[in-house]
């Protein structure tokens, strides 16, 4: 499981994105209000190796969706860099080069109802990337490609003539996947692709994504708030809180030996479907507003292990057991790391 510096397929370094949510200038001047900046993403470092699935988890407001959009270029970063296969995405590339880079990365969105244009036929929706990147020579070839894509996501080629509203949520998500695959990308950013789906449909879509990954050698950046899903499909996991990465580790390690107090709390919130009678310690407090984050380590108000240093000083990432943790308590050795065992559903 590579996490070495030289082999990274996607490298994100010091990524920041701030949003200015101040009131309009006139209101501010009259009412004397200060500027308000939301630090949605506040310094993220991630390396993803080719062929792996890196999952980014966190609750709402932690910035994981913003990271997804930064990576595909929907927002420009306020600071930091995104490197794709050695190419700096922010550098000035010629239009042709930029198009070639864009072709290799695509995105799958969360809402199956808003991610397809309701006025377009499915055929045109899937054909759009092929047409935009000039990947097809003629009409017959285009039809064949779209037909193949539909078959790959377990729909029928005749479904191309229909409109999105004629399909269920799970089927629409398959169409989204087909569209994402149309340009033959190597890297897919998936923003909570199954959160809006029923459980049994989620299983189908996740299985499909795993199959496609194997078949086409895809690399995934998978955004989710559902830790159980992440457990099953990820190679490595990153936990975000209020715009910062608090822990990154290989999946098995993260779940069996969680280090950061927030990671432990999150794992505690996973429902006990195996009916072990495991006691869940309810999490204290709520996620603070990102406009006014707490000082030092942003988690300190909710952390049972916080000391004065945590309130004052922002911790730096510490390399440990194949991953990184950003926590003073771990660094100082105050917080022991224990093994967790999960009982199988028998």
């Amino acid at each position: 499981m590579p996490d070495g510096a030289g082999t990274a397929f996607v490298r994100i370094a010091g990524l920041k994105r701030y949003f200015d949510v101040s009131a309009p200038w006139l209101v501010r001047t009259i009412e004397g209000r200060p500027r308000q900046i939301v630090q949605a993403v506040d310094g993220i470092d991630i390396e993803i190796a080719k062929g792996e699935t890196f999952s980014l988890v966190g609750e709402s407001g932690c910035g994981k969706s913003t990271v997804a959009r930064l990576v595909v270029g929907l927002y420009p970063p306020t600071a930091g860099s995104i490197e794709f296969d050695g190419n700096d995405m922010a550098a000035r590339h010629s239009r042709a080069d930029m198009a070639a880079l864009r072709r290799r990365m695509q995105m799958i969105f969360q809402d199956p109802f808003a991610s397809l244009n309701p006025r377009w036929r499915v055929f045109d929706i899937i054909a759009e990337p092929i047409r935009a990147f000039g990947l097809s020579k003629d009409k017959a070839d285009l039809e064949k490609r779209v037909g193949d894509l539909l078959r790959q996501v377990r729909l029928a080629p005749v479904d191309g003539r229909k409109f999105p509203h004629e399909f269920s949520g799970g089927q629409r998500q398959r169409i989204s996947i087909a569209r994402a695959l149309a340009s033959q990308p190597e890297f897919l950013v998936c923003d909570e692709p199954t959160s809006a789906l029923d459980v049994s449909v989620q299983a189908q879509i996740l299985n499909l994504m795993v199959d496609l990954q194997r078949r086409f050698g895809l690399t995934y950046l998978f955004i989710s708030h559902n830790l159980a899903v992440v457990y099953h499909i990820s190679t490595r996991v990153g936990v975000m809180y209020l715009g910062r990465l608090v822990e990154v580790a290989p999946t098995e390690t993260l779940f069996t030996r969680p280090k950061h107090p927030y990671t432990r709390m999150l794992l505690d919130t996973i429902p006990d479907l195996d009916m072990t009678g495991r006691q869940r310690t309810p999490v204290a407090g709520e996620v603070p507003s990102p406009i006014n984050p707490p000082s030092g380590c942003t988690f300190h108000p909710r952390c049972p292990f916080a000391n004065d240093r945590c309130k004052a000083e922002r911790p730096a990432p510490l390399a440990i057991e194949g991953g990184t943790v950003t926590c003073h308590a771990i660094e100082e050795g105050r917080l022991p790391i224990e093994d967790r065992v999960y009982v199988a559903n028998s």
Binding site: E59, S60, R154, S168, G169, G170, Q171, D198, V199, S200, V201, Q202, A203, Q204, L206, N207, V210, H225, N226, L227, A228, V229, Y231, H232, I233, E252, F255, M265, L266, D268, T269, I270, P271, D272, L273, D274, M275, R280, P282, V283, E286, V287, Y342, V343, A344, N345, S346
Partner: protein
């Protein structure tokens, strides 16, 4: 026939409930012959995927079915008294005083124009004969019980001044304030963050135990059910597929749909890359198959399943609507229809 936790008469009895929607293309049957009981103080989970009819069942019980939907058959009895055929005014008295409701979206459950205290006091005074001062005291006590810090000040705050989790606590307070015997909660934690969900569920459990209130918990989230419910009913295509003690249904499901459902849920016990999936999708209301509604997707079906519709029958400690548990069996096995959909 049901082994209820106590042998008191059931608090809520639903018998053969049918909810239908007349449309210009014909009448759609959204809830088809559903029967269950809730004992006093018990938590019954009603779980199902979208379109299974669980929310409609909950709405029918509270009397908030949106027209043109209507109850087309069966009866609903609360403490022995029929409530499905009450006129509007009578139902209004029942709602709030005897049945409380918690809905999914805390943002729209509270009126943004009135302070939280005012909404609580209004509900209290509508159903209980208390003076304004007594009502306010009761409201304050409730807010403290649901864990709102600084209740004395916050009682006069407006909903938008609370966070999502706090708002849902207020909604719970609102549901409990008139002392109902039953609460119908429709996806109470779905719109909340994962860490807040755990808090709210713990709160709901504790309060209902302390007040002796029964809960009908409608949700698609099996995890919430596993932690909160005493018994669970699994709904599929407007019918109950399986009903029984929660531990038995979750760990030893008797109906193939429930088995498939539990298998699709990723859990931390076993790490497999491929989750069990049920091929196909729940049928639309206009296309419900003959016989057992689940049969096209069922790996264990037989000839009988295509023609005869199974009712709930004994299956160990639970009941399941499946011919596998009948002495006659399923007949000749037939391969399932939907493949890899």
């Amino acid at each position: 026939m049901m082994a209820t936790p106590s042998n008191n008469p059931p608090l809520l009895e639903v018998k053969n409930l049918r909810v239908e929607f007349p449309t210009r293309r014909g009448t759609l049957l959204a809830v088809d012959d559903v029967s269950f009981d809730i004992a006093p103080g018990e938590v019954l989970g009603v779980v199902g995927e979208s379109g299974a009819g669980k929310s409609l069942t909950g709405n029918a019980i509270i009397g908030l079915l949106e027209p043109p939907g209507r109850i087309a058959g069966g009866e609903i009895r609360l403490e022995g008294r029929r409530i499905d055929n009450l006129p509007y005014e009578e139902m209004r008295k029942v709602r709030g005083a005897r049945i409380g409701a918690i809905f999914q979206d805390p943002l729209t459950s509270l009126n943004p124009l009135y302070s939280v205290g005012r909404q609580l006091i209004e509900t209290i005074q509508t159903h209980l004969r208390l003076s304004a001062a007594a009502a306010r005291t009761r409201a304050l006590d409730l807010l403290k019980e649901v864990g709102i810090p600084g209740a004395e000040t916050r009682i006069d705050h407006y909903p938008h001044q609370f966070s999502g989790g706090m708002r849902q606590r207020v909604v719970i307070a609102l549901a409990l304030c008139a002392g109902p015997r039953l609460i119908v909660a429709d996806e109470p934690t779905t719109a909340l963050d994962v860490s807040i969900q755990a808090q709210i569920i713990a709160l709901l459990k504790r309060l209902c135990r302390e007040h002796g209130t029964a809960v009908m918990l409608v949700t698609h989230d099996m995890g919430v059910i596993a932690e909160t419910a005493d018994r669970v009913a699994v709904m599929y295509a407007g019918r109950i597929a399986e009903i029984g003690p929660v531990r038995d249904v979750v760990k030893h499901a008797k109906h193939p749909y429930t088995k498939g459902l539990m298998g699709s849920i990723p859990s931390l016990g076993v790490r497999t890359e491929r989750l069990t999936q049920i091929d196909g999708a729940m049928p639309r209301l206009t296309e419900i198959p003959d016989g057992c509604a689940f049969n096209p997707r069922c790996t264990e079906r037989g000839a009988r399943c295509l023609v005869e519709r199974p009712n709930l029958m004994a299956a160990g400690t639970s009941r399941a609507a499946c011919w596998l548990h009948d002495r006659g069996g399923v007949g000749t096995p037939i391969a399932k229809e939907t493949v890899d959909a």
